[in-house]
């Protein structure tokens, strides 16, 4: 008895250490990746790099059009996906009856989340670029990215709405509020931090995507900044793809610098989302 107990303890100690190692091996690449990109990319960063147009076949100058393009695409995605996503989440959490159609909506959302990003690209090409004749444009790319982002926003917003105590709704209704008044005045404000977190996480993903914009709005190189939503645009992720695979003699430092800029953009959003979530948790009154 005494013996088997100790051997079980030894087994446990070995097992725990092993899993600790596995966990370490899983997160170590993340640290290495971030550190490596910062070290290799930082020397490229300068005011000119961030604010100048590319020169000499992109081998020189800055990456301004790619930065601006990613900003436009993210903004365009937000314009479509945020109101639609929040409204859809409100429907599912506050209105939807428990029936077949509602289950169908859930299945649809799950599937939207699972569709490969390049298939979104095909869809955007078929519907927005060709059928609706929007051309290869910021608008077509933003719409494509919006639909891809929608499931992320809907599911996080729904979770945030559901976490608001039911009692608040009951009380509000009992004071003569309509369903919408209750949502607008009580439920939404309480769920807002969670909803914003979800929006940022969704947009973070959209900002880093390449495949959905390949045939819907991304341009290899443009000599000037886009002038309207109907223009194509350069974008950071596609630019990284281009300069790392299709431009011979591309200085390595510019490549790492561009990657670093995208990383800061994306991880910055991630950080903001985390801060909002923590602050809201600390402040919550229920």
């Amino acid at each position: 008895m005494e013996r088997s107990l100790t051997s079980a303890r030894i087994q446990q100690r070995i097992g725990f250490s092993l899993l600790g190692l596995v966990t370490f091996a899983t997160v170590l690449p993340v640290l290495l990746i971030i550190g490596f990109i910062i070290v290799k990319g930082a020397p490229a960063i300068s005011w000119e790099f961030l604010t100048a147009m590319p020169r000499n076949g992109m081998r020189d100058g800055g990456i301004l059009p790619a930065i601006i393009g990613t900003f436009y695409l993210t903004l365009g995605t937000a314009i479509f996906s945020v109101p639609l996503g929040i409204a859809a989440a409100i429907y599912i959490s506050e209105y939807a009856p428990d029936n077949f159609l509602t289950r169908l909506i859930r299945i649809a959302i799950i599937n939207l989340a699972g569709i490969p990003s390049v298939v979104y690209g095909l869809f955007g090409l078929g519907l927005f670029v060709l059928f609706l004749r929007l051309g290869t444009s910021i608008l077509a790319a933003s719409l494509t990215l919006s639909i891809m982002t929608l499931p992320v926003i809907i599911s996080t917003a729904e979770e945030a709405l559901r976490s608001v105590p039911q009692a608040f709704r009951t009380v509000s209704i009992s004071l003569g509020a309509t369903r919408w008044q209750t949502i607008w005045r009580i439920v939404l404000p309480q769920a807002m931090p969670g909803i914003i977190t979800g929006i940022i996480l969704g947009l973070e993903r959209a900002a880093g995507e390449t495949a959905p914009i390949l045939f819907t709005g991304a341009a290899f190189f443009l000599p000037r900044l886009p002038q309207s939503p109907f223009d194509a645009t350069m974008a950071l992720p596609y630019h990284i793809f281009v300069i790392s695979t299709s431009v011979p003699g591309m200085p390595i430092q510019i490549q790492y610098g561009t990657v670093l800029v995208l990383l800061v953009f994306v991880l910055g959003m991630n950080l903001i989302a985390t801060l909002i979530r923590q602050r809201a948790r600390a402040r919550r009154q229920w």
Partner: protein, 255 residues
């Protein structure tokens, strides 16, 4: 013939939930105006279900079937055409747990009025002060109306919930075990308060024990497993119950 003293008349009311529970069976009861009517009995008797029926809060619950009538000022409030928003303003509700809205003290009281479209600051200020005074809370909170309502004590929160209802100038106030989560001092306060204001309202109170039922009742109704066993003026019902089951419950033999 409508009894002039009658505020609400319940006729043959039956309510069944979707899971099959028949929580009220053929209830007939008349609720007198300007008095406290106490609905009492062991848990699961259907008292909360009845209260929620009176201001149509059951619309939010999983109710499968409602039959019968509830006449309020002569109108059947179960009628699908009834304006439930107006109804809930006239028939307010205080719940067993003091649930304050995640707003300031002031906003909790002004909430119902703002829903009605009242935006004038002076009107709102006036109404908030009046309601808080009537709920005997003004003196304790007048200097921190902007604080979150969750910052005050449980007893104060429950009076805030009452003030919130009073601000709407209701005709009927429903209270579902309003003191079950409170200490004895806060409980006594709320009881006293309701005695003071009952003449201007019609009050339906579900007490959380028989002692409170006997203390508060002008009129009383005893519910057992969805059935209204007996009802009558408080002084007779608690002293000389007609039904053996009421007798047993009142004397503490079960429940």
């Amino acid at each position: 013939m409508v009894n002039p003293m009658e505020k609400i008349r319940i006729e043959h009311l039956s309510i069944r939930y979707s899971d099959g529970t028949e929580s009220l069976r053929d209830i007939c009861l008349s609720i007198p105006a300007n008095q406290i009517t106490v609905l009492f009995g062991p848990a699961g008797g259907g008292k909360s279900t009845l209260l929620r029926a009176l201001n149509r809060l059951n619309d939010l619950a999983d109710v499968q079937e409602v039959s019968g009538q509830i006449l309020f000022n002569g109108v059947n409030i179960l009628d699908p055409g009834v304006n439930v928003v107006n109804l809930r303003r006239k028939i307010g509700m205080v719940f067993s747990r003091p649930v304050v809205l995640p707003l300031s003290i002031y906003q909790n009281v002004s909430y119902g009025l703002e829903l009605m479209g009242e935006r004038r600051k002076s009107k709102l200020d006036e109404a908030v002060e009046r309601a808080l005074r009537r709920a005997a809370l003004w003196d304790e909170v007048y200097d921190r109306l902007k604080d979150p309502a969750s910052a005050i004590s449980g007893g104060q929160q429950q009076r805030l919930c009452l003030a919130r209802v009073l601000a709407l100038e209701p005709e009927v106030i429903l209270l579902d075990e309003p003191t079950s989560a409170l200490d004895p001092v806060s409980t006594a306060r709320i009881e006293g308060l309701m005695q003071e204001i009952k003449e201007q309202y019609t009050i339906v109170w579900v007490p959380h024990n028989v002692q409170q039922a006997a203390r508060m009742a002008d009129y009383a109704a005893f519910f057992l497993q969805g059935e209204l066993v007996e009802h009558g003026p408080g002084e007779t019902l608690f002293v000389k119950p007609r039904d053996q089951r009421t007798q047993d419950y009142v004397t503490g033999r079960f429940g």
